[in-house]
């Protein structure tokens, strides 16, 4: 039982950064904007969170600062693609390369500095219960935050007026515009929200997962988050499932190796991408599913006619 608890705990920490970044990107894409800069924004969030945590000693400030930094990076992306109508794919890739560079530059001073990990919740008597104690009542604040976030996104997209507007903007920006909704402003907000969540995902890495700063420490998780959004076919529930599945595969793979079960680790490393391609193939074959889920205007620049 003990090993089961430990595996679940490890899976939770491995999945949380993916969940944050992918939820942010989900909202961004739902509004019709494709931001491939997830990896860059995560790195910017990671270094900002770490730097603030080291210099102020406050984890709360660090988390907020990381979200703001991610949002700022996304704002630059928004300005280039939404106001100046630059190509979204190229700009997103540029944002990733920019994020790798700028985080390395700022982070040079923080290499080799150690930080205490984000504290875990400890409710006397409850957090020490067997099995459910450590799993349900013994997480850090960001893990709970990620669950609140996914529930909020589900409610927002499904049941709120403005969620409907965001989806409308992503489906058909011309119609939304004709109805009088400020397409550009809504896309700005969705993009900035996405950036803030990517910043949080990065901060989870540098504050809780492996509490340190190391260049390029996201090591491709931004790309997995992007794949995850497609894998989930733009649905929050499946996103939660997918994030934990992707995180779980990585961890179980390591356990299998340690236990001497011979699985080719290279194969397991590519499994998330393979699953994504499979989902893409499946939904591309079915026109109804595409129409229901994939935002119709994704990646298209909006130039109001009047």
């Amino acid at each position: 039982m003990d090993i089961f608890v430990q595996i679940v705990l490890t899976v939770i920490t491995a999945s949380t950064p993916l969940l944050f970044a992918a939820s942010g990107e989900l909202i961004t894409e739902k509004s019709g904007v494709l931001n491939l800069g997830v990896e860059g924004m995560m790195l910017i969030g990671a270094i900002t969170g770490f730097a603030v945590a080291i210099s102020t000693g406050s984890a709360t400030l660090a988390i907020f600062a990381a979200a703001i930094a991610g949002a700022a990076a996304a704002f630059i992306f928004g300005f280039l693609t939404l106001s100046l109508l630059a190509n979204q794919v190229a700009t997103g890739l540029a944002l990733t390369i920019f994020g790798v560079g700028i985080s390395a530059l700022v982070g040079a001073a923080f290499v080799g500095v150690a930080l205490e990990p984000l504290p875990k919740l400890a409710i006397p008597g409850i957090s020490t219960l067997p099995v459910i104690g450590p799993i349900v009542f013994g997480q850090d604040i960001m893990v709970y935050g990620s669950f609140v976030l996914i529930a909020a996104i589900y409610w927002f997209l499904k049941h709120s007026h403005w969620g409907l507007v965001v989806r409308a903007v992503g489906e058909s920006h011309d119609s939304a515009h004709a109805l009088g909704y400020p397409v550009i402003a809504i896309r700005y907000m969705a993009t900035i929200f996405g950036g803030a969540m990517c910043g949080l995902g990065g901060a989870y890495l540098s504050l809780a997962y492996t509490p340190m700063w190391a260049e390029n420490m996201t090591a491709g998780r931004g790309w997995i988050a992007l794949a995850l959004v497609v894998f989930a076919t733009w649905r929050p529930g499946r996103l939660l499932l997918g994030a934990y599945m992707f995180g779980g595969i990585t961890i179980l793979q390591l356990h299998a190796q340690g236990a001497g079960i011979n699985v080719p680790s290279q194969f397991m490393s590519m499994l998330p991408y393979l699953a994504t391609i499979l989902v893409l193939v499946l939904i591309s074959r079915d026109k109804v599913r595409i129409r229901l889920n994939a935002p119709n205007c994704i990646g298209q620049a909006f130039r109001p006619a009047h």
């Binding site: 595996i7 040079a108 150690a114 492996t210 340190m212």
Partner: protein, 360 residues
């Protein structure tokens, strides 16, 4: 043998700036020494240690030399351009510090017979190209001895990067060291297929601890496995540099790359005009491999570790002394014999007792 394949625009620009600064302030009687790094100097591992070596050259030889470095150079055509640029701008000695710089180094060396080249971890030499690397497996043997004494579960978790001879040799050497004091020690290996992915390295360490390992060691570059060891209350070893800052209650010691004395000696040889092409594979005896202070262990274990270092250093003990069997139980090194360098360099088998199947 390290690779960091990331484009770092900012790093490149900085490096270009430094090169320009180096050009303008050079004096005519100074020997210019160039360094080409595969990663950023801030990686706290491989490249970081090479840059410490560069600084040692500046400190030791003062204004006789002027050093320049270019960091985060991609292996491939970029590397050739950077090396050629250094050669063309008056550098007399150029260190190229990654395996993938081998062919570009040899090519540029042919074009610039008056410039001396030093290539780390490679095997192609020439009149003006030397090669050098360090016998890190000696350090791994010492770590194994310590693990053999300190483990209570008799299980060591090994976080591996790629199954190449360098890493396999380290695993074997570690186990030989451990078995020399405790024949019951088992090694569990988890490959993360990366030199550098802090999250995954940490997860691998967690998985190994969950499966009973109470000592964690690694052949990857980040301090993450050691941090995990600290948080889980088990012990571990650092990699490339002293990582005690990340895990002061967990680090037993660390195997440190120390290029300082080699770099100073080679730079001095160029200044004196006595430089000759050579192949250096140095261990404890040359100072290229060092152990960080022995901490978190009883005094008798620390003493035994130091004695092991001394025995290897003086040549009394060779980690790969027979009889050694492979996993099939076949004798690969006969009793009383030691493995030659050819076997060590190409090592592609596990010795008996490693609980892992070597990936192809």
């Amino acid at each position: 043998m390290k690779r960091f394949g990331i484009t770092r625009v900012v790093g490149g620009l900085l490096a270009a700036g430094l090169m320009a600064a180096g050009l303008s302030s050079a004096w005519a009687d100074q020997t210019k020494v160039g360094f080409v790094y595969v990663g950023p100097v801030g990686d706290h591992g491989w490249t970081y240690r090479h840059d410490i070596g560069r600084q040692a050259v500046e400190n030791a030889l003062g204004d006789k030399v002027k050093t320049t470095f270019v960091e985060s150079v991609k292996e491939g055509p970029d590397a050739e351009r950077v090396i050629q640029q250094l050669a063309a701008s008056g550098h007399k000695l150029i260190f190229t510090t990654s395996f993938g710089f081998m062919n570009p180094t040899v090519k540029v060396a042919k074009r610039n017979p008056g410039v001396m080249f030093e290539h780390a971890t490679g095997y192609k030499r020439g009149k003006n190209v030397s090669t050098y690397m360090a016998r890190f497996y000696e350090g791994r043997y010492v770590a194994g001895v310590i693990a053999g004494k300190m483990s209570k579960t008799n299980t060591v978790g090994y976080v591996g990067s790629f199954p190449i001879p360098e890493v396999v040799r380290g695993i074997n050497s570690f186990l030989l060291g451990a078995h020399s004091v405790n024949p019951d020690i088992k090694i569990k290996v988890v490959w993360v297929n990366s030199w550098y992915d802090p999250g995954k390295e940490g997860d691998a360490a967690k998985a190994l601890i969950d499966q009973g390992a109470d000592i964690i060691t690694q052949h990857t570059d980040s301090p993450a496995p050691l941090q995990v060891a600290q948080n889980r209350g088990v012990l571990g070893f650092g990699q490339a540099s002293d990582m005690a800052a990340f895990a002061k209650n967990a680090q037993l010691t660390s195997i440190i790359d120390n290029w300082d004395s080699y770099y100073v000696a080679r730079a001095k040889a160029v200044v004196d005009g006595s430089w000759k092409s050579a192949d250096t594979w140095g261990g404890f005896n040359t100072g290229m491999v060092e152990m960080a202070p022995f901490t978190n262990m009883p005094a008798d274990v620390a003493k035994l570790a130091q004695e092991t270092v001394d025995a290897i250093s003086s040549g009394k003990l060779h980690p790969f002394t027979g009889p050694i069997k492979n996993q099939k139980g076949e004798v690969v090194i006969k009793a009383g014999e030691v493995a030659d360098d050819g076997m060590l360099l190409g090592m592609n088998f596990y010795i008996e007792g490693v609980e892992d199947k070597l990936p192809n």
